[in-house]
Symmetry: C2
Subunit: 311 residues, 2 copies
Amino acid sequence: MSKEVRQRVLDVCQENGYQPNSAGRNLRRRLNETIGVLFYPSCGAAFRNIYYAEILGELSKTLENARYNLVLPGLDGTSLSEQPPRFICQGGIDGVILLGEFPRKVVRNIHGYGLPIVLIDNSRPKVPVDSVTTDGLGATKQIVDHLVELGHKNIIFMAYEQNGHNANQRQAGFEDGLKKHNLDPLTCPIIRNFNETRGAYAALAAALKNEQRPTAVIAVNDTLASEMQVRLKEDGFNIPKDISLFGFDDDSPSQVAVPPISTVRVDRKEIAEIGARLILERIEKNDLPVRNMVLPVELILRESVTFPPAS
Amino acid sequence: MSKEVRQRVLDVCQENGYQPNSAGRNLRRRLNETIGVLFYPSCGAAFRNIYYAEILGELSKTLENARYNLVLPGLDGTSLSEQPPRFICQGGIDGVILLGEFPRKVVRNIHGYGLPIVLIDNSRPKVPVDSVTTDGLGATKQIVDHLVELGHKNIIFMAYEQNGHNANQRQAGFEDGLKKHNLDPLTCPIIRNFNETRGAYAALAAALKNEQRPTAVIAVNDTLASEMQVRLKEDGFNIPKDISLFGFDDDSPSQVAVPPISTVRVDRKEIAEIGARLILERIEKNDLPVRNMVLPVELILRESVTFPPAS
DNA sequence: CTGAAAGCGCTTACAG
DNA sequence: CTGAAAGCGCTTACAG
């Protein structure tokens, strides 16, 4: 074949935007260039936390650069306890990304299918799988440091009852912070006996009636923080003069709140890129050692935090 | 082959959960059993409206029943104006679902690639594509009917500046309602000169200073409605005694608000199922006539609406 | 009705 | 280094 003809063929391919047909290519290469994503407990529920939607968006962009597509099999994390689902038996995917707080049993189950998997924003030390999470423990410790520096001595940590990696890490950081500063756990309560806004505020309001009234509240995420702020204001508390308030995640609720709420920023792009790298590397070489990445986070200080009221 | 052997083979397949390999199957059948989803302007942005996440979840479940997977190509609706993207040239998908308010130009562009496409929650009459939307026009007319029946004469409609099918339909329904009840457009203003919460409330507050103070507000969605409610309460208005309030979509903000906000419920499952049906039918037979489905909606009456204050 | 062959579009290993 | 052949796993059209 002459070089001239060769070049002309290549040109024509270029012009018409020819791309090798994926089915043929994949069949031959025994690869799919496709990664499945699962949510827990469901797609709709996971995205109540907009944070996950942003990570998903970044993930799909990053994987596109590696010619990979993301596929959403039509099933929830909750229906995975039984038989292996179609999208796994069918061999149409090269790996699975688990986005959200999957219970250990489900992770183990999926891991058992032998596909490369990676946990994003969740970690299961007892199951040998790659993961990428953020340093919630360190973040809450930093928050306590900051509040103590301002003079706060009675601080509340509150999180939804439901166990989860992030809630647990953030609580652990709070407990570490209390120890470090010799704060009394009795006047620095941890509130976790609620699972919806109303219960949350009832529990918070009760804690505020304590003899040593708490002067700062750390909520496990921005949605909870902003809901508490609205209720506290309705009950006549001034934020931040009476009560300082911290959230987590730097989502929209903390930004649009009045006053804006101090929070912890997580780099969604970074977590997505690392998650993508982990799964791509494991697809290439499945006998890599397990890697558990923990990303640093950044405190965002806004008007919802100040010195405690003079007592 | 004896029937006995045949049965044993089938049994073994069943036991091991054998599924035909998708790459081989698809190559031969010249089909992909895969549908692409695009968001506008981006995945992260689209899901700020949790409504779209719920539709996506339902879509993936419905399509799973037809053995179809949903694939997220790693690109935004915004980057579609240029060359056909990889996931189209590669021939890996049988159709495309457009979720959200895509500009006409982009829809036309994608339609030009020749793949079956369907618009969900958006309609572009000038482009010959299937679509499924909800009856926002009828809904707002019903809301006006209801408010007028309670005695309201001065009603505000407010929506973000950005044009969009839903905002426009809902506004059109408001205008129809005004005409039907001979209400004066001067005392029933349409506010659309804002694109974030602060501007929205400034515009609303200004309108409330009108001589004929409006006694009811219809916000284009629940997020806007609940934000306005918080600000109105801060400024000393009682909801609903001073001002009745309507939102749209029956999302979480209208449910957790104090008081809960009247709204319009859209059946996410239904819209997803119809969208799925439209695209599957078009994949099967691409020369079907264009179908534009409009789903009925349901008014949800909550405590945020009552009679206007005695004047 | 049953069973063997052809071929979907590609890539890789092989022969020249 | 170049070019033809084999084969990935399936399904369908064809021969017997």
